[in-house]
């Protein structure tokens, strides 16, 4: 069975907790990536940033408070309020850092797990990407749905 380590993407751009918003937006723009892992000084995975997390800066409240508000029952959702330009200000690029906006809601697999397990996690949780970590939560890379399919094609000689 093909293992996660056989098709993992290791050359992933990652950011530190202290990386400013300006830098994060630049990385997203230049690399057209959809997810940025956040690691601490020991390379342990501590969070992820996607476009959802970036749009949290359009809200005047902290990411923690916004997370808490999401648990409120019967809350009216107004999609246009998610991207209210009035709350943006120039200094935000430096003042807001990865640690404040990252989410700790992500899925992980180990390098020695099978791709079937990674695929199952993606299907059950309706996600396209899973983080790969070592036993001590050391960040290794990410694996996406396409990486799994690609590895299978390669295994059977459909592509070289």
């Amino acid at each position: 069975m093909i293992k996660v380590k056989d098709c993992i993407k290791e050359d992933i751009i990652k950011v530190r907790r202290g990386t400013p918003l300006k830098e994060i937006i630049k990385i997203f723009n230049e690399n057209k990536c959809t997810i940025l892992p956040v690691v601490d000084e020991d390379n342990k995975l501590v969070g992820k940033i996607t476009l959802d997390e970036i749009t949290s800066v359009f809200q005047p409240q902290s990411a923690e408070l916004n997370q808490l508000l999401k648990t409120i029952p019967f809350l009216d959702t107004v999609p246009e309020a998610d991207i209210d330009i009035d709350y943006l200000f120039p200094e935000m690029g430096i003042l807001v850092i990865a640690d404040e906006i990252m989410s700790n809601q992500y899925f992980t697999v180990k390098q020695d797990d099978t791709i079937a397990k990674a695929y199952s996690i993606m299907k059950v949780n309706d996600t396209q990407v899973v983080m790969v970590v070592k036993d001590d939560n050391d960040f290794v890379g990410i694996i996406g749905m396409f990486d799994i399919i690609y590895a299978m094609f390669k295994e059977k000689g459909v592509i070289k």
């Binding site: 408070l65 808490l68 809350l75 107004v78 949780n125």
Partner: protein, 395 residues
Amino acid sequence: MNLNSLFSLGLIFLFALVSSGFIKKIKLPTVTAYLLFGIAAGPSLLNIISQGVIASSGIVTNIVLSFIAFSLGQNFSKQRFREIGSSVISLTIGQVFGALIIVTSAIYYLTDQPLFVALSFGAIATATAPASVVMVVRESKAKGRFTDTLLGVVAFDDGAGLIIFALILAVAKSLAGVHENMVTLAFSGVLKGVIEIFGAIVIGALFGWMTSLFSRFVLNPSELLIYTLGFILVNAGLSSVLGVSVLLSGMVMGAVLVNVDKTSFKFFESLRKIDSPFYLLFFVLSGANLDLKMIKVIGMVGVIYIIARMVGKILGVFITSEIIGASKQISKYLGIGLAPQAGVALGMAMLVNNVFEVEGNFILSIIIASTVIFELFGPALTKYVLFKTKSIQKI
């Protein structure tokens, strides 16, 4: 009119949706529209909700309350407590106890109601309507320290309120209809309450742990939803059969799950995808349960409940602020900003209605009527305090 239940259900969904469209134009929350529509469509007025649908109020309430309790449980993690901070937690506890004590005392001493009824009102008074407060904050683009504290307290309040309600209801149940001497009565009440609470904690913890343990066998998003729903309902059903607090066991289930499973958010997210129709039905049926003939009877108790609840919230915040050294703005205005009350209070009242056959309907009618008042005027009060604390520039 005696309508077919399916037809009636369909009408409820469609008309409630149209009502919410209208009410949004006057900047009130959707839940207020559902509630008002329920009152209008109920047996007291238009009578377009079939008896079959009205008869399902009990099961809908239990389902919705188990959803709410489970969802609120996810806030009980070490990380969340750290993020929210001790001042918000202290203020939440302060205003919950403020409302409980003042409302219970006011109803007990100023009206002829027995202690268990006063306690039920006191416990229900703890709840606020975070959805209304959040809507006002977003709509008025309020920001700043006061706004953050207000949002933190309302978000946390329902969890704290549900715990208090579960404890008080356990005691109130054993006080109801008992005519022994006070010592025996108090001892029996507390003992039954302790058993009910402890049992709920054990059952909730067990199901929370099992939900995490067996989730590895779930194969796709549909199964995840069915799996989550199944565990929530089995937990609620078993708690009900064993006579322990359904609310507390649901909260403990959510709390244990969030603390033992790093990916527990998938269960809560899954549930959010399907909860809206249940919530809609819950509010409409709550409104439909308002017996307009009761309005004449509830007058004075209703007025005392509304005033005492506001006094309790304001006093609770004031005293806590003095103890923890919170700012003058928080001390003076936060309690007023907590005026809105809606879904969780209605759910509590529906539960009380199921527990106390005679007094339950009286309590429910007052809570429905006061909810309409709190939901119509509460948002304006919240906006007023945001203005007074300079969180917004104009009203």
